[in-house]
Protein backbone atom coordinates (compact mmCIF):
# COMPACT_ATOMS: atom_id res chain seq x y z
CA UNK A 1 0.00 0.00 0.00
CA UNK A 2 1.17 3.49 -0.75
CA UNK A 3 1.68 5.68 2.28
CA UNK A 4 1.20 9.42 2.03
CA UNK A 5 4.30 11.64 2.25
CA UNK A 6 3.18 12.77 5.70
CA UNK A 7 3.02 9.21 6.99
CA UNK A 8 6.44 8.46 5.55
CA UNK A 9 7.86 11.59 7.16
CA UNK A 10 6.53 10.57 10.59
CA UNK A 11 7.79 7.01 10.18
CA UNK A 12 11.25 8.12 9.10
CA UNK A 13 11.48 10.91 11.67
CA UNK A 14 9.08 10.02 14.46
CA UNK A 15 8.48 12.89 16.88
CA UNK A 16 8.63 12.36 20.61
CA UNK A 17 9.44 8.67 20.79
CA UNK A 18 10.26 7.58 24.31
CA UNK A 19 9.05 7.32 27.84
CA UNK A 20 8.22 9.75 30.62
CA UNK A 21 8.73 8.90 34.29
CA UNK A 22 5.53 7.12 35.22
CA UNK A 23 6.17 7.79 38.92
CA UNK A 24 5.94 11.55 38.34
CA UNK A 25 2.48 12.57 39.63
CA UNK A 26 2.09 14.90 36.65
CA UNK A 27 2.72 12.13 34.13
CA UNK A 28 -0.17 10.02 32.86
CA UNK A 29 -0.15 7.00 30.57
CA UNK A 30 -2.65 5.81 28.00
CA UNK A 31 -2.33 2.23 26.80
CA UNK A 32 -4.46 0.97 23.94
CA UNK A 33 -4.38 -1.91 21.51
CA UNK A 34 -6.12 -2.76 18.25
CA UNK A 35 -7.20 -6.41 18.18
CA UNK A 36 -7.74 -6.20 14.41
CA UNK A 37 -4.00 -5.95 13.74
CA UNK A 38 -2.33 -6.57 17.12
CA UNK A 39 -0.92 -3.04 17.29
CA UNK A 40 -0.03 -1.70 20.73
CA UNK A 41 0.29 2.01 21.54
CA UNK A 42 1.52 3.80 24.65
CA UNK A 43 1.01 7.54 24.92
CA UNK A 44 2.31 9.51 27.89
CA UNK A 45 1.58 13.12 28.74
CA UNK A 46 3.09 15.45 31.31
CA UNK A 47 0.57 17.95 32.56
CA UNK A 48 1.47 21.25 34.26
CA UNK A 49 -0.26 22.35 37.45
CA UNK A 50 -2.30 24.71 35.25
CA UNK A 51 -3.67 21.73 33.30
CA UNK A 52 -1.62 22.27 30.15
CA UNK A 53 0.15 19.37 28.44
CA UNK A 54 3.86 20.29 28.53
CA UNK A 55 5.32 17.14 27.08
CA UNK A 56 4.20 14.00 25.31
CA UNK A 57 5.98 10.79 24.38
CA UNK A 58 4.87 7.66 22.61
CA UNK A 59 5.90 4.13 21.90
CA UNK A 60 4.01 2.18 19.28
CA UNK A 61 4.38 -1.31 17.90
CA UNK A 62 2.46 -1.40 14.69
CA UNK A 63 2.32 -0.43 11.06
CA UNK A 64 3.47 2.86 9.58
CA UNK A 65 0.03 4.42 9.91
CA UNK A 66 -0.14 3.58 13.61
CA UNK A 67 3.31 5.04 14.21
CA UNK A 68 2.50 8.18 12.22
CA UNK A 69 -0.84 8.62 14.03
CA UNK A 70 0.79 8.46 17.45
CA UNK A 71 3.72 10.64 16.41
CA UNK A 72 1.28 13.24 15.08
CA UNK A 73 -0.86 13.35 18.20
CA UNK A 74 2.17 13.88 20.46
CA UNK A 75 2.87 17.01 18.40
CA UNK A 76 -0.74 18.10 18.52
CA UNK A 77 -1.37 17.68 22.26
CA UNK A 78 1.68 19.67 23.36
CA UNK A 79 0.61 23.10 24.59
CA UNK A 80 -3.04 22.11 24.70
CA UNK A 81 -5.19 21.96 27.82
CA UNK A 82 -6.66 18.57 28.69
CA UNK A 83 -10.06 19.69 27.41
CA UNK A 84 -8.59 20.84 24.11
CA UNK A 85 -6.63 17.59 23.73
CA UNK A 86 -9.79 15.60 24.44
CA UNK A 87 -11.39 17.20 21.39
CA UNK A 88 -8.92 15.63 18.95
CA UNK A 89 -10.90 13.23 16.79
CA UNK A 90 -9.66 10.32 14.73
CA UNK A 91 -11.10 12.01 11.65
CA UNK A 92 -8.67 14.93 12.19
CA UNK A 93 -5.82 12.41 12.17
CA UNK A 94 -7.00 10.54 9.07
CA UNK A 95 -7.45 13.85 7.24
CA UNK A 96 -4.00 15.17 8.19
CA UNK A 97 -2.21 11.92 7.32
CA UNK A 98 -4.46 11.05 4.36
CA UNK A 99 -5.04 7.56 5.72
CA UNK A 100 -6.97 5.13 3.53
CA UNK A 101 -10.16 3.51 4.91
CA UNK A 102 -8.36 0.28 5.86
CA UNK A 103 -6.07 2.29 8.17
CA UNK A 104 -8.78 4.21 10.00
CA UNK A 105 -8.37 1.93 13.00
CA UNK A 106 -4.84 3.35 13.45
CA UNK A 107 -6.27 6.82 13.92
CA UNK A 108 -8.92 5.46 16.30
CA UNK A 109 -6.08 3.90 18.27
CA UNK A 110 -4.38 7.31 18.60
CA UNK A 111 -7.59 9.10 19.59
CA UNK A 112 -8.33 6.47 22.21
CA UNK A 113 -4.75 6.70 23.50
CA UNK A 114 -5.24 10.42 24.21
CA UNK A 115 -8.54 9.70 25.95
CA UNK A 116 -6.95 6.91 28.00
CA UNK A 117 -4.04 9.15 29.03
CA UNK A 118 -6.41 11.94 30.09
CA UNK A 119 -8.53 9.47 32.04
CA UNK A 120 -5.38 8.14 33.72
CA UNK A 121 -4.32 11.68 34.65
CA UNK A 122 -7.69 12.38 36.25
CA UNK A 123 -7.61 9.12 38.20
CA UNK A 124 -4.08 9.89 39.35
CA UNK A 125 -5.01 13.41 40.46
CA UNK A 126 -8.06 12.21 42.34
CA UNK A 127 -5.90 10.01 44.55
Amino acid sequence: MAYSDKVIDHVENPRNVGTLDKNDPNVATGMVGAPACGDVMKLQIKVSDEGVIEDAKFKTYGCGSAIASSSLVTEWVKGKTLDQAAEIKNTDITAELELPPVKIHCSILAEDAIQAAIADYKTKQAK
Binding site: V32, P35, C37, D112
Partner: protein, 174 residues
Protein backbone atom coordinates in the same frame (compact mmCIF):
# COMPACT_ATOMS: atom_id res chain seq x y z
CA UNK B 1 -23.09 -24.08 11.99
CA UNK B 2 -22.78 -24.34 8.25
CA UNK B 3 -18.99 -24.47 7.92
CA UNK B 4 -18.70 -27.39 10.31
CA UNK B 5 -21.59 -29.19 8.60
CA UNK B 6 -19.94 -28.72 5.24
CA UNK B 7 -16.99 -30.80 6.40
CA UNK B 8 -19.18 -33.12 8.43
CA UNK B 9 -17.33 -32.13 11.60
CA UNK B 10 -18.74 -31.68 15.09
CA UNK B 11 -19.32 -28.05 16.09
CA UNK B 12 -16.28 -27.69 18.31
CA UNK B 13 -13.56 -25.07 18.62
CA UNK B 14 -11.04 -27.86 19.13
CA UNK B 15 -11.12 -28.98 15.55
CA UNK B 16 -9.23 -32.01 14.26
CA UNK B 17 -7.04 -30.35 11.63
CA UNK B 18 -5.96 -33.61 9.99
CA UNK B 19 -9.56 -34.65 9.56
CA UNK B 20 -10.48 -31.16 8.34
CA UNK B 21 -7.82 -31.34 5.63
CA UNK B 22 -8.85 -34.84 4.63
CA UNK B 23 -12.53 -33.84 4.29
CA UNK B 24 -11.49 -30.75 2.36
CA UNK B 25 -9.61 -32.83 -0.20
CA UNK B 26 -12.56 -35.23 -0.54
CA UNK B 27 -14.97 -32.36 -1.13
CA UNK B 28 -12.62 -30.67 -3.56
CA UNK B 29 -12.36 -33.85 -5.59
CA UNK B 30 -16.15 -34.20 -5.68
CA UNK B 31 -16.63 -30.75 -7.19
CA UNK B 32 -13.54 -30.66 -9.39
CA UNK B 33 -14.22 -28.95 -12.77
CA UNK B 34 -13.07 -32.09 -14.67
CA UNK B 35 -16.06 -33.96 -13.29
CA UNK B 36 -18.40 -31.39 -14.78
CA UNK B 37 -16.87 -31.26 -18.26
CA UNK B 38 -19.92 -32.73 -20.02
CA UNK B 39 -22.52 -31.28 -17.64
CA UNK B 40 -24.90 -28.38 -18.08
CA UNK B 41 -23.87 -24.76 -17.47
CA UNK B 42 -26.06 -24.70 -14.42
CA UNK B 43 -24.36 -27.72 -12.88
CA UNK B 44 -20.96 -26.21 -13.65
CA UNK B 45 -21.96 -23.01 -11.93
CA UNK B 46 -23.15 -24.86 -8.84
CA UNK B 47 -19.82 -26.71 -8.71
CA UNK B 48 -17.87 -23.45 -8.93
CA UNK B 49 -19.94 -21.92 -6.14
CA UNK B 50 -19.46 -25.00 -4.01
CA UNK B 51 -15.70 -24.84 -4.57
CA UNK B 52 -15.52 -21.27 -3.38
CA UNK B 53 -17.68 -22.03 -0.36
CA UNK B 54 -15.42 -24.94 0.59
CA UNK B 55 -12.36 -22.72 0.26
CA UNK B 56 -13.92 -19.99 2.41
CA UNK B 57 -14.92 -22.53 5.04
CA UNK B 58 -11.46 -24.06 5.12
CA UNK B 59 -9.77 -20.67 5.51
CA UNK B 60 -11.99 -19.90 8.49
CA UNK B 61 -11.88 -23.26 10.21
CA UNK B 62 -8.16 -23.86 9.98
CA UNK B 63 -7.23 -20.55 11.58
CA UNK B 64 -7.93 -20.53 15.35
CA UNK B 65 -8.85 -16.83 15.63
CA UNK B 66 -11.04 -16.87 12.51
CA UNK B 67 -12.68 -20.10 13.66
CA UNK B 68 -13.42 -18.61 17.08
CA UNK B 69 -14.79 -15.39 15.56
CA UNK B 70 -16.96 -17.40 13.20
CA UNK B 71 -18.40 -19.51 16.02
CA UNK B 72 -19.00 -16.38 18.08
CA UNK B 73 -20.79 -14.63 15.22
CA UNK B 74 -23.00 -17.68 14.72
CA UNK B 75 -23.91 -17.25 18.37
CA UNK B 76 -24.97 -13.68 17.71
CA UNK B 77 -21.84 -11.80 18.79
CA UNK B 78 -20.02 -10.55 15.70
CA UNK B 79 -16.64 -8.97 16.42
CA UNK B 80 -15.09 -9.61 12.99
CA UNK B 81 -15.29 -6.05 11.68
CA UNK B 82 -15.07 -4.16 14.93
CA UNK B 83 -12.68 -1.23 15.14
CA UNK B 84 -12.90 -0.55 18.84
CA UNK B 85 -9.68 -0.58 20.80
CA UNK B 86 -8.75 -2.83 23.66
CA UNK B 87 -8.11 -0.95 26.89
CA UNK B 88 -6.76 -3.35 29.44
CA UNK B 89 -3.65 -1.67 30.87
CA UNK B 90 -2.23 -4.78 32.54
CA UNK B 91 -2.58 -6.93 29.44
CA UNK B 92 -1.27 -4.17 27.15
CA UNK B 93 1.69 -3.40 29.39
CA UNK B 94 2.64 -7.07 29.16
CA UNK B 95 2.26 -6.92 25.37
CA UNK B 96 4.51 -3.86 25.29
CA UNK B 97 7.16 -5.69 27.30
CA UNK B 98 6.93 -8.74 25.07
CA UNK B 99 7.35 -6.55 21.99
CA UNK B 100 10.43 -4.98 23.59
CA UNK B 101 11.81 -8.44 24.35
CA UNK B 102 11.25 -9.39 20.70
CA UNK B 103 13.28 -6.36 19.62
CA UNK B 104 16.10 -7.44 21.92
CA UNK B 105 16.17 -10.93 20.41
CA UNK B 106 17.13 -9.40 17.07
CA UNK B 107 20.29 -7.97 18.61
CA UNK B 108 21.08 -10.89 20.86
CA UNK B 109 24.38 -12.80 20.68
CA UNK B 110 22.56 -16.06 21.32
CA UNK B 111 19.13 -15.63 19.75
CA UNK B 112 18.28 -19.34 19.54
CA UNK B 113 17.83 -19.84 23.28
CA UNK B 114 15.89 -16.62 23.56
CA UNK B 115 13.61 -17.59 20.71
CA UNK B 116 12.87 -20.89 22.43
CA UNK B 117 12.11 -19.15 25.69
CA UNK B 118 9.90 -16.63 23.91
CA UNK B 119 8.03 -19.38 22.10
CA UNK B 120 7.35 -21.07 25.42
CA UNK B 121 5.97 -17.79 26.77
CA UNK B 122 3.68 -17.35 23.76
CA UNK B 123 2.47 -20.90 24.15
CA UNK B 124 1.66 -20.34 27.79
CA UNK B 125 -0.31 -17.17 26.99
CA UNK B 126 -2.10 -18.93 24.14
CA UNK B 127 -3.20 -21.66 26.54
CA UNK B 128 -4.22 -19.12 29.16
CA UNK B 129 -6.67 -17.38 26.81
CA UNK B 130 -7.83 -20.34 24.73
CA UNK B 131 -8.21 -23.04 27.40
CA UNK B 132 -11.86 -22.16 28.11
CA UNK B 133 -12.80 -21.11 24.58
CA UNK B 134 -14.25 -24.42 23.38
CA UNK B 135 -16.68 -24.38 26.25
CA UNK B 136 -17.42 -20.63 26.12
CA UNK B 137 -18.13 -20.58 22.39
CA UNK B 138 -21.06 -22.97 22.64
CA UNK B 139 -22.62 -21.21 25.60
CA UNK B 140 -26.10 -19.70 25.43
CA UNK B 141 -25.20 -17.11 28.05
CA UNK B 142 -24.40 -13.66 26.63
CA UNK B 143 -22.08 -12.86 29.52
CA UNK B 144 -20.03 -15.97 28.76
CA UNK B 145 -19.94 -15.09 25.05
CA UNK B 146 -18.62 -11.63 25.97
CA UNK B 147 -15.84 -13.27 27.97
CA UNK B 148 -15.08 -15.41 24.91
CA UNK B 149 -14.98 -12.25 22.75
CA UNK B 150 -12.47 -10.68 25.11
CA UNK B 151 -10.33 -13.82 25.05
CA UNK B 152 -10.36 -13.84 21.24
CA UNK B 153 -9.32 -10.18 21.08
CA UNK B 154 -6.39 -10.94 23.36
CA UNK B 155 -5.47 -14.08 21.42
CA UNK B 156 -5.13 -11.94 18.31
CA UNK B 157 -2.34 -10.02 20.02
CA UNK B 158 -0.69 -13.31 20.99
CA UNK B 159 -0.88 -14.54 17.38
CA UNK B 160 0.64 -11.26 16.27
CA UNK B 161 3.59 -11.92 18.59
CA UNK B 162 3.97 -15.35 17.03
CA UNK B 163 3.97 -13.84 13.53
CA UNK B 164 6.58 -11.28 14.55
CA UNK B 165 8.71 -14.00 16.11
CA UNK B 166 8.70 -16.13 12.98
CA UNK B 167 9.51 -13.05 10.91
CA UNK B 168 12.55 -12.48 13.14
CA UNK B 169 13.54 -16.13 12.90
CA UNK B 170 13.40 -15.94 9.12
CA UNK B 171 15.54 -12.83 9.05
CA UNK B 172 18.12 -14.28 11.45
CA UNK B 173 18.54 -17.75 10.03
CA UNK B 174 17.98 -17.37 6.33
Amino acid sequence: MRYFELFNLPVNYDVDLTLLNQRYLELQRAVHPDKFAGKSEREKLVAVQKTSEINDALAVLKHPAKRAEYMLSEQGVDIRAEQQTLQDPVFLMQQMELREALEDIQHSSDPEDEIDAFEAQIKQLDTQYSAQLAEQLVSQDTAVLEVAADNIRKLKFIYKLREELSRIEDSLFD
